[in-house]
């Protein structure tokens, strides 16, 4: 589904990704790990189409299309979802309103009829029940006054409503206590399907105890230096990132 070859990016004067290659097929769950500054979040933002980042080399193909040609909203409508590390607040804009607008934008793109208020609410309540979320969430401003945990759960709710083909979750576990983490993980697991691919960007191994990845990649200094299965994560936990950094520069 997602084919990244030799991707190089820059922001301002800094080069972050320096030739990253990655291949993700539908149904798979990939974990991207790495020390701070390695480029994990950059990768997530670049796939989503954030305009601050300049792509200086390489290609990204999504279901056969050149992804880099598309604007962020176009990528979204094609089924790419980014769960933000720091979801922004949009005061005065109702959570339900944003969701409905997003759902309908996608449906319109797919040539489907838009959902009306009733249908939307029905769907939303279903999903929230599945995720164990309080329906009152819908009436609040987008992320306005949400705790860290609530923000992350809101991201998962949006993912559940938008049913993406490729979901990239950027440090979904950061700042969460164990209960919140479990709830978020349960949500993500409920959304696993053979038609969907999920990329988990994470610094710590902990999340992977709850969401079992098919592949684990380690990002260091803008490149993937090692790939393996879930046991690689455990190894990193024990030995830290320095071990791999040495291996990479050696």
């Amino acid at each position: 589904m997602l084919e990244i070859k030799d991707l190089k990016t820059r922001i301002g004067d800094a080069e972050i990704l320096r030739g990253l290659s990655l291949s993700v097929k539908k149904g798979e769950v990939h974990a991207i790990m790495g020390p701070n500054g390695s480029g994990k979040s950059t990768l997530a933002q670049v796939i989503a189409g954030h305009e601050d980042y300049e792509v200086t080399g390489g290609t990204v193909r999504y279901n056969g299309q050149d992804l880099l040609e598309l604007a962020p909203e176009e990528r979204a409508r094609e089924g790419i979802f980014l769960g933000f590390q720091y979801p922004v607040e949009i005061p005065g804009v109702n959570n339900a309103y944003l969701l409905k607008a997003a759902v309908n934008a996608k449906r319109k793109h797919q040539g489907l009829d838009e959902v009306d208020a009733f249908e939307f609410l029905k769907l939303a309540r279903e999903r929230m029940a599945m995720l164990g979320m309080d329906p009152k969430f819908l009436n609040r401003g987008v992320n306005e006054g949400f705790s860290g945990g609530e923000k992350k759960r809101n991201e998962i709710l949006q993912m559940a409503m938008l049913e993406p083909r490729l979901a990239i979750l950027d440090e979904t576990d950061s700042g969460l206590d164990i209960d919140a983490l479990k709830a978020v993980a349960a949500g993500v697991n409920a959304l696993r399907s053979p038609e969907r691919a999920i990329i988990l960007v994470t610094h710590y191994q902990r999340l992977l105890d709850y969401i079992e990845p098919d592949y684990v990649h380690v990002l260091s200094q803008g490149k993937i230096v090692r790939s393996g299965d879930k046991t690689l994560a455990l190894e990193l936990e024990e030995r830290g990132y320095d071990w791999l950094r040495e291996a990479a520069t050696g």
Partner: protein, 482 residues
């Protein structure tokens, strides 16, 4: 793919949708202002002597006054002698008694303006007093209102039919000497609305008025007076549109509201005057004095406005909180784009005991516009227990515009509680990207965010206005953000 900052000054392509002129012969006075003009205006309207005297005194006072210069706006000097002070459509002679009698060309005008008078009036139950170039043309639903004892007619008619009421209240809230534009208005005002709600009556429908300026160089000098007697209740909507012209047009209106004991007046405005083109040419100069007198105990006056037009706006709807326990409210969204300039706000004067006021002002600046909030909260020494809360937020779109706040707080009573908060911000790149990543286009995202910013004010507007207001907001900011 262009970056946000490159798109930010993307040209406004929307054409002022109401930009056209109705081709009806008008019966106007030649430009210039002197005592003769004042007399001519009064004569054309067959006004009683007291009215003429009132106007003449105002004119003489105006001659001694100076135009204010302190507002944060810059404009070429107005040449008062080059404006015509009276314009009326030919079909003035026999005033139409029902819509059927109205000149069809006029009705067509209203259609184009999106005011299908009869449909709208019937469905929503709104009585419309449509003012066309200084003379009221249609007043519908008068019967229903008169059953309730409500008087809603043009100001000219009120002077004829209810002179005592007019004499009792005219100029008691905005005296002729109040300011330069109020004096001018008092001398040459042409028409406007008059509303009287009798004791204990809750006006059965929302009252509304539409304005329009047509002939070139014709100032629009409207005068409105609304009196809510004890225990009564009225909601009044004011919405304006104007055609595209090349010369600036002066609009100096005066609105006086009087709320007696236990009465409540809600005055809502959606203003869409022609703002000038992208280069600031043309556009209406809107200098308005609006004031509400909470004369009786427990009275309440609320001003709610959405202002998106005019080249220059100078406007401070105010409340005099005289009655004990009286309440004053001001909710405003003011948008300035391209080369518009606005210096607007409110004055809340606390005089009686236990009075309270709420001010929520949302200013949006885009293009090369300048938007200033100027507010005054004055608590007089005898205003025991006064309460005020002010929230003043500015949203900046683009690098060339300005947003300013000048709130004055003059507090002379120690039991007062006054709180003022103001913030300035922009639509952040993060917010835009978040929405876009959820599949929403940039334009829709901007509209969503701006509407969220103005939400607190929109929810105070009467239903039909709220919808028009949101659409108006979206249109006035088209292309402002990339």
């Amino acid at each position: 793919m262009a970056t946000e900052s490159e798109n930010i000054e993307h040209l406004v392509n929307r054409r002022y949708e109401h930009g056209f002129v109705t081709d009806i012969a008008t019966d106007s006075l030649p430009p210039g202002l002197d005592e003769g003009v004042v007399r001519a205006i009064s004569a054309r309207k067959n006004e009683p002597q007291f009215m003429l005297e009132w106007r003449l005194q105002a004119y003489r006072q105006w001659l001694e006054m100076r135009e204010p210069e302190w507002a944060h706006v810059h404009y070429p000097k107005i040449k008062y002698n080059e404006i015509s002070y009276f314009s009326a459509p030919k079909s003035d002679e026999d005033r139409p008694k029902s819509l059927d009698e109205v000149d069809p060309k006029l009705l067509e005008t209203y259609d184009k303006l999106g005011i299908p008078l009869h449909e709208r009036a019937r469905l929503a139950g709104v009585a419309v007093d449509a003012v066309f170039d200084s003379v009221s043309v249609a007043t519908t639903f008068k019967k229903k209102l008169s059953e309730a004892g409500v008087i809603f007619c043009s100001f000219s008619e009120a002077v004829q039919e209810h002179p005592d009421l007019v004499r009792q209240y005219l100029g008691t809230v905005v005296p002729r000497r109040d300011n330069f534009f109020a004096a001018l208005n008092a001398a040459v005002f042409s028409d406007g609305s008059f509303v009287y709600i009798p004791k204990g009556v809750r006006c059965p429908m929302e009252l509304s008025t539409y304005f329009r300026i047509n002939a070139a160089n014709t100032g629009q000098f409207e005068r409105t007076l609304i009196v809510a007697d004890e225990g009564s209740h009225v909601s009044y909507l004011e919405g304006c549109t104007a055609p595209m012209r090349d010369e600036n047009q002066l609009h100096a209106a005066v609105v006086e509201l009087v709320a007696l004991k236990d009465a409540e007046i809600k005055y809502s405005t959606v203003q869409n005057w022609y703002p000038g083109d992208e280069n600031g040419v043309g556009g209406i100069y809107n200098f308005v004095t609006k004031r509400g007198d909470c004369r009786g105990a427990n009275s309440k006056i609320s001003w709610t406005q959405v202002e998106t037009g005019s080249a220059i706006t100078w406007k401070y709807p105010s409340c005099l909180l005289r009655g004990d326990n009286s309440v004053g409210e001001f909710y405003s969204v003011a948008v300035a784009n391209n080369m518009q300039q606005a210096d607007t706000g409110t004055k809340m004067i606390h005089i009686g005991r236990n009075t309270s006021s709420t001010i929520v002002s949302k200013g949006i600046s885009a293009g090369r516009a300048e938007n200033a909030y100027r507010g005054l909260v004055r608590v007089m020494p005898q205003a025991h227990g006064a309460r005020n809360h002010t929230q003043c937020d500015s949203l900046l779109i683009g690098k060339q515009c300005g947003a300013h706040t000048f709130p004055y707080m003059e507090i002379k009573n120690p039991t007062a509680r006054v709180e003022h908060e103001a913030t300035t911000s922009k639509i952040s790149a993060d917010q835009l990207f978040y929405c876009r990543q959820r599949g929403i286009s940039e334009e829709d995202a901007v509209n969503m965010i701006v509407n969220g910013f103005c939400k607190e004010v929109f929810k105070e507007l009467p239903m039909e206005f709220a919808v028009e207001a949101q659409a108006l907001l979206n249109v006035s900011l088209e292309g402002a953000v990339g």
